[in-house]
């Protein structure tokens, strides 16, 4: 495992995420979109990552992450999520403030640091957005989770994660009182616009839009 540049780590993460844990193929444009860069830059980087065997890349056919690439990507993701826990649990950041800072911290190179940080935090299994934290070997298990949007009328669930980490989205959840661990019950579903009415913690009734319902994940 050679030492990767920040840019390389970021591309690997993007490929990993966009391919759904590295299974399916990802298009050059999708990566460019995700990374706020140009397709030409992506092609170039994919060629380089492919030479290092971090991705499996066939020109014009899309890209997939390789086994060693996945290993690297998961370590970066592990670091990102551990730092997010640190920022929220120890430094009292809000969950909408931590992504950007963790984007920087995730590139710090020191296996010992991450080991100690993990100890310090008490080996958390999930980050502040409910995403699972891979262990040293890149292994993790996801909580079974479905979007609120797909829960049946009168169905209940506990909020376990959010699909999006956009600060505006997270701030909105704060405002209306949705948080990880909240108990929800669907008390009305509006067919034509996908919005719904839910009861949070058996006391707060609120209307949420389709966009919200699709990005809040619950478990039964």
């Amino acid at each position: 495992m050679k030492k990767l540049s920040f840019a390389e780590e970021n591309y690997l993460k993007a490929v990993y995420h966009l391919s759904g844990a590295g299974e399916s193929d990802v298009s050059t444009n999708a990566i460019a979109e995700e990374m706020q860069t140009k397709a030409a830059s992506v092609s170039d980087m994919l060629r380089r990552l492919s030479e290092k065997e971090l991705v499996i890349y066939k020109k014009y056919q899309g890209v997939k992450i390789s086994e060693s690439g996945k290993k690297s990507a998961l370590q970066v993701i592990r670091k990102h999520r551990l730092w997010e826990v640190f920022l929220v649990e120890k430094l009292k950041f809000n969950w909408d403030q931590v992504h950007e800072i963790a984007e920087q911290l995730e590139h710090i190179k020191s296996p010992l640091l991450i080991e100690r940080l993990d100890d310090f935090l008490g080996h958390p299994k999930f980050d502040p957005h409910g995403d699972p934290i891979p262990d040293e070997n890149g292994e993790f298990k996801e909580k079974p989770q479905i979007p609120l949007a797909e829960v049946d009328l009168n169905g209940t669930g506990i909020v376990v994660a959010v699909k999006d980490t956009n600060p505006l989205f997270l701030q909105h959840l704060d405002k209306i009182g949705i948080y990880l661990g909240a108990k929800t019950k669907i008390i009305d579903k509006v067919e034509f616009d996908g919005s719904m009415e839910i009861l949070v913690d058996s006391k707060n009734k609120l209307f949420i839009s389709k966009e919200i319902a699709q990005n809040v994940l619950v478990t039964n």
Copy 2:
């Protein structure tokens, strides 16, 4: 205050340190030596830093840090030392292990992060090597300190800092039982080689070489 690159921040730090808090002039070669790079690279970077008015640079005449350069350098130093405290106090690193990691962490850009870290650590005034931590405005006060080598026979002092952060040096201090806060008394001085015999905490007698005596700083 524009955002600086890692390289720029590192050069500024070097100029600041080598000039003794930015007073005197520093030579190109000294910087090259300090930064393990070539004089040509230094010249080039000094030209660029000079254009940004972070240093005062006259070709062939050496370089001095500017007011705005000093401000930036001190913020980087503040971050470095706060992270060192974090690593030792919270993550249980030894003082000889933290420099390298802090060299990376010091470049993380987020004023809020540093503010919160400072709060979390209880606003420490000194890092694990006894070096003062500048505040948000770059201000700090050094403890009065002299090398053990300059303490008179029978003189006493408390170890407040070390001049060098070389891991081998620090590990040696651990081994012989010298640490920040240790009470020392000079019980013998050997003229011809600069070595001495000292009493630590009124109970451990030990011989130390000139090199050690010059790099351990005490206050009366």
